[in-house]
Symmetry: C2
Subunit: 217 residues, 2 copies
């Protein structure tokens, strides 16, 4: 199956305009067919040994969202102590999640025992199944952007607490808690770049040839 | 920026027709501008705290490819011992990499110390930077598919050996060694699914509401 130049450009447009959304969520509900398209896309991410180790917990109950928000606040307070001076002030000023504002949360997990002990491709590198679930997250994110939905990854929360709140069994690993919803707008650049927290690294400086350190001219 | 329905469908076409390529590589060289588009796309993956922890090592030297192939063979032999009976025979029959046939390899890494100890979003979950590099891998993969290039993830290799072969510094983590190139064709389904190794899980069985186990009707 051939992808045309116009289709290729649509993929690039989606990749470059994807953002981590925190402050721009609108409460508008997401139609069921849209959510199903996004989740089915995520389900077509690559997985080691065709393991498909992911599950998707759709969170809409406001009480559960509130517990997740409280969990974020606790971890966020602890995190602030790890920055100092001006950087700490800057850290505290950032809006880093939209848990309550987004109409929906989606927790993506990894079931490491789903297909037994021996998994093709996981034998030398046991982390591969976790990475498969991360590929599902990024696929979900791009599919959502293609539906003009914003997604924000809430990583500032204790995952044991997240498991407790979402009744996730002990052997299942939470990979990501995502906020998802329609947005007022997408920022033209990542917010941390815009705020001067860190600059965009020139991509050329990240490319090596044949071995590490052998950089192009 | 609005994504149109036609653009959305192009993204879905790309997601659904992406495959892990092993046996269909053609030797045709990949133009520099194509590789740069793919790497720049990967560089626009989400990263925790805008850390951009990835590097990309482009491997074209046949001697280095041969060392990687040897590393695969060793890990592959060990892996075969983890399967038994009919499954072992089946495992041995699969072609799981195209290291020598693909005109290019790309190793994607993670520099965990790139932006200092305190990283926004990595405070509660230290694995987040590794996951950022995985997001870069999946973004690269989809961009490559949009350029009609096949990609295969070689995870059956010892990562310490991979570091040695590619002269990767001690503190840098290899995330993926990818084979990339034009292809004779893309399989319509994942090869492990076609071969009857594992079936595609119905996506509905992976969706929960508000808490784990609360499944839709």
């Amino acid at each position: 199956m051939i992808i045309t130049k116009a289709e290729r450009d649509a993929v690039y447009k989606t990749i470059y305009s994807r953002r981590d959304t925190r402050g721009e969520f609108k409460p508008d509900p997401i139609p069921d067919d849209v959510i199903m398209r996004i989740l089915d896309s995520a389900h077509h991410a690559p997985s080691v040994g065709f393991m498909q180790p992911w599950d998707f917990i759709i969170v809409q109950n406001p009480d559960i969202k509130k517990q997740i928000k409280d969990g974020f606040e606790e971890a966020h307070k602890e995190a602030a102590e790890m920055f100092h001076g001006e950087r700490q002030e800057m850290y505290k000023s950032f809006k880093l999640e939209g848990i309550m504002e987004a109409p929906m949360g989606i927790c993506v997990t990894c079931d490491r025992s789903r297909t037994g002990d021996a998994v093709i491709g996981r034998t030398a590198n046991p982390e591969m199944d976790l990475y498969s679930s991360v590929c599902a997250v990024q696929t979900l994110w791009l599919a959502a952007r293609a539906e003009n939905l914003g997604v924000g990854w809430v990583s500032i929360i204790d995952h044991d607490l997240l498991k407790e709140i979402l009744a996730i069994p002990q052997h299942i690993i939470p990979i990501a808690y995502l906020c998802i919803g329609y947005v007022t707008h997408f920022h033209d650049k990542p917010e941390l770049e815009k705020a001067g927290w860190l600059p965009r690294t020139p991509v050329e400086s990240l490319i090596h040839h044949d071995q590490w350190g052998d950089q192009p001219e």
